[in-house]
């Protein structure tokens, strides 16, 4: 998103509705400049060229903390 570009108020309302924020028109108008700022700042992330091994999140394989009993112990 360029410096002068920003999404329309209707599109912004769709975003806030999807997040179930239930904002009034006054709140929408107040929040949108902040959103536009962050949208401009974060657009760079979609342009990054990352590899398949640049995995973001790992699901820990261990169940130790849940302390399941061994089947033989039941």
């Amino acid at each position: 998103m360029g410096e002068s570009e920003s999404i329309s108020m209707d599109a912004f309302r769709v975003l806030t509705d999807r997040a179930r924020l239930g904002l009034t028109m006054e709140e929408l108008e107040s929040l949108k400049p902040m959103y536009d700022h962050f949208a401009r700042q974060t657009a760079v992330l979609s342009e990054l060229e990352l590899d398949a091994e640049d995995m973001a999140l790992r699901f820990p394989p261990d169940w130790d903390s849940l302390a399941l009993p061994h089947t033989a112990e039941r």
């Binding site: 806030t16 179930r20 924020l21 904002l23 929040l31 700042q41 974060t42 992330l45």
Partner: protein, 468 residues
């Protein structure tokens, strides 16, 4: 307030610890001095949300009896400290600086609270903070705003605002803060004190109200580097209640501060931290350049380094912090939005507007940042930079977007999880403190402490106290 009270409250943890251990100072006398000073000054500074005078005196009497019986626990025994008001304290209101949690009384201590109690520290009270550890000083949050002891018209930094103000003003000997994007180093820099965010996983976050799980760190703010080492020692280590903590052994941090830094390789990422940016204070850059010269005089070898992915660190930080905060607060944001202050309510709402794809991409970008820093850390031992891009702003200069408009010099190390400390490195012509940030390799807090201590002892900014 008597001369003696001031003298006692200006002792460092290391100095007071030695006196307490040897019987030259009573924990009761010391705690009483701090309570008198809080009574005298905190009406103006507003660093405390809750003062635990009776409990603190009882703890001090216990500490005194134990020391007299020869049951000295170590360098925190009898030391008066305070906690940012997001550390759970059993039976004591813990608000996170928000009306949303105004009546919340935990039934259990945070792990760090428990560790400090076990070390024999005396808990003076709970400290002011920016609401839910985000944003700025918001007069609509429902809690008093801590002020900077160097200039009451200026903010003390945040979000650990009360922690910075209380330590700088001598209202406690050390405090815990928390840090998601710079909330320990920022107040340390703005208040002219030391503050360290240790490696991600080094200190438990169990029982600490979260802002962003993958970025949050806990750590101490103190008058000196060696005091931070002592306080970190008391809280570092694996915690089975926090699965993100590390099993890596905890070294002797206080022992690590001694020793020279001849031959130490110091990387300076000038392209990011010293760029010709109108949003970065020339006074700050000048003070830090002078500090780099001091490191060089001490025998360190400076080297300009480049970390290309710093260009999108701010973007990644914004998406991750806001998205995770929204995930935690979304229910209250929908059902009781009026209980949030205006600044935090807006910032948290933005967190609900990023897509899952943007969040995942931000986390992936973080991996690249780690790789780039790892490449640099193969050649240098530590990295040095300004802690903050500007000295503390006045209260009337701050709004919800203040921190988002200027480059963050602290956030990159929350993204990578590297240890980073701020140590005072001078003052602006207006008398506001400036901080030098030193970051190190993961779990190499000893080298970070050694570098910061060597600088501190040479520059001796700690000898200057605020005009309170």
């Amino acid at each position: 307030m008597t001369q003696t009270t001031t003298e006692l409250c200006y002792l460092t943890i290391r100095e007071a610890g030695a006196l307490l251990r040897d019987g030259g100072l009573s924990p009761v006398e010391l705690t009483r001095a701090f309570l008198e000073r809080i009574e005298s000054l905190d009406g103006t500074l507003q660093a405390y949300i809750t003062v635990l005078a009776d409990d603190a005196m009882a703890e001090a009497r216990t500490a005194e009896a134990e020391i007299l019986r020869g049951e000295y626990r170590g360098p925190m025994h009898g030391i008066p400290i305070a906690l940012k008001d997001l550390y759970d304290t059993k039976g004591v209101r813990t608000t996170a600086g928000s009306r949303v949690m105004a009546d919340r009384v935990p039934t259990e201590d945070a792990t760090t609270t428990a560790l400090l109690r076990a070390s024999g520290a005396v808990l003076l009270g709970k400290l002011a903070m920016h609401e839910f550890a985000l944003g700025g000083p918001d007069p609509t949050c429902g809690f008093p705003l801590a002020r900077n002891p160097w200039s009451l018209e200026h903010i003390p930094g945040g979000s650990s605002s009360g922690s910075g103000a209380a330590v700088a003003a001598g209202l406690c000997m050390g405090a815990l803060g928390s840090c998601t994007g710079g909330s320990i180093r920022g107040p340390a820099s703005h208040c002219g004190i030391a503050g360290i965010k240790a490696t991600y996983g080094r200190v438990s976050r169990y029982g600490v109200v979260p802002l962003s799980w993958t970025l949050d760190h806990c750590g101490p703010l103190t008058w000196t580097v060696e005091d931070s080492a002592i306080m970190l020692q008391a809280i570092a280590g694996y915690d089975p209640k926090d699965p993100t903590t590390s099993h890596a052994p905890v070294p002797d941090y206080l022992a690590s501060v001694e020793g020279d830094i001849r031959g130490l390789r110091v990387g300076v990422p000038r392209h990011y931290f010293f760029a010709d940016d109108p949003d970065v204070s020339k006074d700050t850059l000048s003070a830090v350049e002078t500090a780099l010269g001091v490191l060089e005089d001490l025998g360190a070898v400076l080297e300009d380094v480049t970390v290309p992915s710093l260009a999108y660190a701010g973007a990644a930080q914004s998406v991750i912090m806001a998205s995770e905060a929204f995930a935690y607060h979304q229910s209250n944001l929908r059902t009781r939005p009026q209980d949030f202050g205006e600044m935090v309510r807006a910032r948290f709402r933005i967190g609900g507007l990023f897509t899952a794809g943007e969040y995942v991409q931000a986390q992936r970008a973080r991996n690249v940042l780690k790789r780039d820093f790892a490449e640099v850390l193969r050649r240098v031992d530590v990295l040095a930079s300004p802690t903050m891009s500007n000295p503390a702003p006045r209260f009337d200069e701050v709004d919800a977007m203040s921190t988002a408009r200027v480059p963050s010099f602290t956030g990159p190390y929350n993204l990578t999880g590297m240890p980073a400390i701020s140590v005072p490195c001078g003052f602006t012509p207006e008398g506001l403190p400036v901080g030098l940030q030193i970051a190190g390799k993961p779990f190499d807090e000893p080298t970070v402490f050694r570098t910061a201590y060597a600088y501190q002892q040479q520059a001796r900014w700690f000898e200057r106290r605020p005009p309170v």
